[in-house]
Symmetry: C2
Subunit: 407 residues, 2 copies
């Protein structure tokens, strides 16, 4: 059976390895150390750096395709690999839009997709400063500043809540640190959605049901699948937008299109990721085909799997490192969780706990007759227990990022 | 997180490793070579033999529990490991009944469980021959001869269809080759069932729905979950028998109790296995908790998971090596299967193909409104294609072992 190489040894590679095993394969991972989540469980580990062309080349040797656990690989390296005949999936020509938010915004705008108003702050510092001042004033400083590259899980995003001085401070600090910025209009949003699709080189596309994502501290905390009470036409539109964009960009593998649903019921594209994505973890226990199997099928140019949900509601909640380490070990917490919720599907990443670090997730799949709130309550309770070692009765909305707050 | 060691690098260890990953662990396997199914995918492989005490000791070092992919480990080694404080799960005191069919029959009979009439042919050759002649005559030679140890997948089982001379030939040949035999009355059975349970050291037990197993060439070919049209009281009785026996024997981990349902509607115990089992592969896609996760939970003394089925019908069909190797590679066959049946859940073991060798399995899970025959037809078609590289329209009952034929 073929070998696929994944660049990065994080949890996405770890869970892709689980799917690879079922397909008769062993995922090869390029990891920085043997203790990384995927390196700790795969028999085929290449130690090295995604920044090193030689390491990438070594990891690609004999593999039928090269794919990614994260967006951090220098584009020039990928182009050089492609010149040598390596099947880079997604190809560099597509991945550039997931690596560079400014390029992504420009391309989406050119394609007529709904994006927030944005400004390029990447050029000459004086001109960029002037552009920021003009853009901020035009939007009453209801804007968001973003690092064009490298941000994730809330990092590289600054919410400017009408505060011009704060915006200039971020701008000056970022320019001092050589971080290239862009500005975006803050969208008046009701909630965040994610439309996940997969696409194969052959051109086959498949869309999972559209989900709602709930952010806390700027990163995904909870996913409700499918998105509650989403107008079927809006859902179909989101899926169509993602499928068409994936085809337009030549994406191979998974693509998550993160969307804002505005208070007016419109959709606005927020971010793109071209890999397995946190908003698709629910598929591991709630879909015929999980996002990890599907990503492999796509990069191998296999026909894609059935993306139907297998239950009415699935809720995913991330397990995060706590600010104060719980007294009980993770092993003991898992033990207690299993006693309380024998139906909880736990996925641990084998990572050490640090505050707000994603170290695992829990899926709860509805049984007939169970309400969405009931399913969510159990998922949130399970994740809170695993994160903090404290039982709660449900979930606390006060922890959620306020709509419109997160970018 | 804790480390569990599994003795044996076969497909059961491979699939247990998938489950271990979700629990934040990496399964350690003792394998004979790096190419074995589990060794090829796990980061923690001890190369060695299950017949070597030193290798077993090495594999156990630092692990919280030692468990099994097969029954082949010498009991004396396990007792010696237990004396050194290794948590052998199931313990040697239970595993002996899965290793030795004669001990198992005696113990089950003593416990009042329904077993076929049987005769001990293990002692002095002259006395054993006399015992066989008496037992055969008493049952009109409608008997089955079995190797007391080491048989599996139809090996070590001889069906004596009323033919005294054939029975004596098997007996003399086996004694010449030092195989210890026993004789059993042939049961007039309607079909074969399997009642799978798990039990933890704490004493918690959990039973999956009882399934029907269909044998071909003496090995499991297809599993229908749940067993079609099984009287609910009979199903409950089978589950109770398995749970009570597991408790009585002190089993830790999974136990499969293979049963005959007689033409009169009675249950007779056929075999016991104390590990993940072919009759439980359907749980990977059709149950809240798969048998592999459950086996780990049990040997770790975690609370057990929910054993509910997640669909009305699940059919598992084994992929077997073909007598004549298909022209298409396994990879190509998988490609075609995915195109035809995007809902098929394929599990490949990374094994080379040899005639009748189990190299993978397919699960088909029913969606609402799909009939059992429809689900079975797709599972059989998928497995037949993967085995032979030939599409069929359905399944051919002529290939099934005739009821009562298989032991």
């Amino acid at each position: 059976m073929p070998t696929v190489t994944m660049i990065g040894g994080g949890q996405l590679a770890r869970m892709t390895h689980q799917a690879a095993i079922a397909l008769g394969q062993c995922l090869r991972v390029l990891a920085g150390s043997p203790g990384e989540p995927a390196a700790a469980v795969s028999a085929d580990v290449v130690l090295g750096s995604h920044d090193s062309f030689d390491d990438l080349l070594r990891a690609a040797e004999g593999a039928v395709a090269l794919t990614f656990d994260h967006e951090g690989v220098p584009l020039a390296h990928l182009e050089a690999l492609e010149e040598r005949g390596v099947a880079v999936r997604p190809p560099s020509a597509a991945l550039r839009y997931a690596q560079d938010k400014l390029e992504m915004r420009r391309r989406l705008a050119a394609l007529g997709l709904p994006v927030p108003d944005f400004a390029d702050l990447s050029g000459d510092p004086e001109q960029a400063r002037a552009a920021l001042l003009a853009f901020g004033a035009a939007h009453d400083w209801q804007i968001v500043l973003k690092a064009v590259r490298g941000g994730y899980d809330g990092r590289g995003v600054w919410l400017i809540d009408g505060d011009e001085a704060a915006a200039l401070e971020v701008f000056d600090g970022a320019r001092g640190g050589d971080t290239v910025l862009m500005a975006e209009q803050k969208v008046s949003m009701a909630r965040e959605l994610s439309a996940m699709v997969a696409r194969s080189p052959y051109g086959q596309g498949a869309a999972w049901p559209v989900v709602e994502t709930i952010q806390r501290h700027g990163q995904c905390a909870v996913v409700l699948a499918p998105a509650p009470d989403l107008d079927p036409e809006t859902a179909a539109r989101a899926q169509r937008m993602a499928l068409e964009l994936a085809a337009e960009l030549g994406v191979v593998g998974n693509m998550a299109m993160e969307l804002f649903e505005t208070t007016g019921g419109e959709l606005v594209v927020n971010e793109l990721a071209m890999r397995p994505h946190n908003s698709g973890h629910w598929t591991m226990d709630g879909c015929v085909t999980s996002q990890f199997e599907q990503h492999l099928r796509a990069v191998l140019d296999y026909p894609l799997g059935d993306t139907s949900a297998t239950a009415e509601t699935v809720v995913m909640a991330n397990i995060l490192g706590a600010a104060q380490a719980p007294e009980m070990s993770m092993d003991e917490r898992l033990h207690h969780l299993m006693a309380r919720l024998p139906e909880a599907k736990v996925h641990l990443y084998g990572k050490s706990e640090r505050p707000d670090r994603k170290v695992g997730h829990v899926n709860i799949v509805s049984r007939p007759g169970q309400s969405r709130d009931d399913v969510r309550e159990r998922a949130e309770r399970a994740a809170h227990w695993m994160s903090h070692g404290v039982w709660t009765d449900g979930w606390d909305h006060r922890a959620d990022d306020r709509p419109g707050h997160d970018a």
